[in-house]
Amino acid sequence: MERSDGRKNDELRPVKMKVGILKHADGSAMVSIGKTIAVAAAYGPRELNPRHMQESDRAILQCNYTMAPFSTNERVRPGPSRRSVEISKVTREALEPALFLKDFPRTTIDVYIVILQANAGTRTAGINAASLALADAGIQMRDLVTSIAAGKVNGHCALDLTGEEEEVTECDLPIAYMPRENKFTLMQMDGHITKDDMKHVIKLAVKGCETLYEHQKKALLEKWSKEGFE
């Protein structure tokens, strides 16, 4: 099936990932998938105020997802929207299962994601970047978290929809996935499809995640591998 940008059904848009791009964050990364560009910063573990938010036996994770006003066709009004609040929540719930929070009682780990350019797949690009930022910061994790969306366009299941495809797709299904344990930490779906199609779309997304996992590992090693030697 010919997609408007010539990709095959199971093909990702061009992926670029870079780790350690921000001077003052404890960990940071930039991930671009097609035209979508996400930057993430991780701070922590660090002191958490107000005290009543502290958990005595573990760290908490806080996430914030924002879109830069110039990131979309129609300018986005700055500040939180209902959509960005929801995405912040599911992002946190996608990353938290991967973290060993018990090692840092009473602290917070803060993740900030800013979308600089949006062409579909912003929340998934954000999660990929956040996962890299957390690893870069030295936070203890059971695995990296990868994320991508898949859908059904023109009767065919397709991986990593573009903005144009998102407008006509029968379903939009973003996932976040820990490849080592084969576990999902995020799953959402907009659309109306059969359960067979849904399983097919999920499998396609998992394949995309496995490719992104390799990109993530490569990006981390690109920054850090000079620290070790064979």
């Binding site: 560009i37 993430a40 914030n64 924002t66 830069a68 110039f70 300018r75 500040g79 800013v114």
Partner: protein
């Protein structure tokens, strides 16, 4: 006074800066045009480790009641905690608002955008130019980085189409109607009576005051802002004016080269 501040001050009194720069020297400035292709115009400016991205978006709306035949200019900035552990989530606070207004002042007062050419139908529809400043990394002197990026973004912007009803976001070849003058802000920290051009983060934390002077190509001044707590004498202003004109020219050349 805290320990590190004492250390910086002791060096400044000898005319030395911690990173080896002269007191009238900027850090390395790097300008990238159009990093955000989807925006009408954009620029990423690095001054040392300070990084700011400015995006220019355009829309169509009603003019202001006292300027019925002019386009609308708006400058906004959001300080994301991405850029610094000092920044908190939430609506822009005083530092962010001040920065946006300084950048706005430079552009508006220099009249570098020909606002009347942005009028579509007088009193009804005009182009709106929305400049959004997004600091990505704060290592001192966000103001100059933002001001330079704003100008670079405006000069490299291409207008979308307007079909009579709504904006069609396809880039045309048409540039923004600009006068080709470029207002450039130059910020100095004031320490022990000395002016340090382009203060980095440590210098900003130790400084007594801050002076930003925005100049245009003809050597005129179009915006001034004294910031931070502290005071200074007349000689300091005079020195700052000369510095800003001189440095402004150098930066203007840099911007031209990158376009």
């Amino acid at each position: 006074m805290n320990f590190q501040k004492k250390y910086i001050m002791s060096h400044i009194s000898k005319g030395m800066r911690l990173d080896g720069r002269k007191i009238d020297e900027h850090r390395k400035i790097h300008i990238e045009i159009n990093p955000i292709e989807q925006a009408e115009g954009s620029a990423k400016v690095k001054i040392g480790d300070t990084v700011v991205i400015v995006g220019v978006k355009m829309g169509v709306g009603e003019p202001f009641p006292d300027r019925l035949n002019e386009g609308v200019l708006m400058v906004n900035t959001e300080f994301s905690p991405l850029a610094s552990p000092e920044f908190e989530l939430g609506p822009p606070r005083e530092k962010a608002i001040e920065l946006a207004r300084i950048v706005d002042r430079g552009i508006r007062e220099s009249k570098c955008i020909d606002n009347e050419k942005l009028c579509i139908t007088e009193g009804e529809k005009v182009w709106m130019v929305m400049i959004d400043v997004q600091p990505i990394s704060h290592d001192g002197n966000l103001i100059d980085a933002a001001g330079i990026a704003a100008i670079a973004a405006l000069m490299s912007a291409r207008m979308p189409k307007f079909d009579g009803n709504k904006v069609v976001y396809e880039k045309t070849d048409q540039k923004l109607p600009m006068t080709h003058d470029m207002p450039v802000p130059v910020t100095c920290a004031i320490m022990e009576g000395k002016l340090l051009v382009d203060p980095d983060l440590e210098e900003e934390e130790a400084m007594e005051g801050r002076l930003t002077i925005t100049t245009t190509a003809d050597g005129k001044i179009c915006a001034v802002q004294k910031g931070s707590v502290g005071s200074f004498a007349m000689e300091t202003i005079e020195e700052a004016i000369e510095l800003s004109i001189k440095k402004g020219k150098e930066i203007r050349e840099l911007i031209k080269k990158s376009l």
